[in-house]
Symmetry: C2
Subunit: 151 residues, 2 copies
């Protein structure tokens, strides 16, 4: 049997998630792609950075905006290992990200298909295309392993 390979940006996002776990942070990673090229990566690091906004998506979005010299990431894709929370979904809308690909769903903290469902309100000024479930088994297992080890 041959397993269908993960798209490269999601494989890279999972590597970022592992790097977060290695630093004692909840393992979540993100990658920004523009025109088929990775322009920024991010990993969850609120404890290390003393920054409650330091989620993988926010780190990747801020880095990409620096690379492009523009607050708007038009035409960019965000790949992230977990369903974005309300803060990150809001940032995705502000950044005008074209497409979001995420791994595991997050019924507890997610705000795309759960809870606040940020992109579904008329107040949301920009709605990305959203694709869920890419690499979800790997992303979810990494999170389970992390919390198992800390219990």
């Amino acid at each position: 049997m041959t397993r269908w390979p993960l798209p490269e940006p999601m494989a890279l996002a999972l590597k970022e998630a592992q790097a977060a776990a290695d630093s004692g942070e909840v393992p979540i990673g993100a990658v920004i792609v523009k025109d088929g090229r990775v322009i920024a990566t991010g990993r969850n690091a609120p404890r290390e950075r003393h920054d409650p906004t330091s989620h993988a998506e926010i780190e990747a979005i801020r880095a990409a905006a620096q690379v492009l010299g523009n607050e708007r990431l038009e035409g960019c894709e965000l790949w992230v290992t977990l369903e974005p929370c309300a803060m990150c979904a809001g940032a995705i809308a502000h950044a005008r990200i074209a497409r979001v690909y995420y791994g595991a769903s997050d019924p507890k903290g997610g705000a795309v298909e759960h809870g606040a469902r940020i992109f579904e309100h008329p107040q949301c000024l920009h709605r990305p295309e959203v694709y869920a479930g890419i690499g979800e088994a790997q992303a979810a297992e990494m999170l389970r392993g992390f919390f198992r080890a800390r219990r």
Copy 2:
């Protein structure tokens, strides 16, 4: 007639908003108070900083977390001139801010009493006390003046 004075942190948040307007940014300002002392300020600066997450609240929260050396701003108050958006309300919850005081309501982009109503979902792990309408006339007039001048 004597007008009731604005609480000092909101007066300072309005000064931050004016500084944003002076830089060509939408005039929104924020202040973080802990134990009666201002520990951080922030102003809206997404264009200047090439950062879509650079809202007044996010800047103030990040600065306060650096000051405290802690991602959690336990016991802190956030004073902001406009109703927070979904991104900022999410950040407020992550930062465990105790009390939020805001000026003008924002039916278009707000996510506290409008739209996504971030603090009302069971997924929201922390709900601050919220006080609205402090300095709302000044905050709203500053925003109206800014957009009037740019039309």
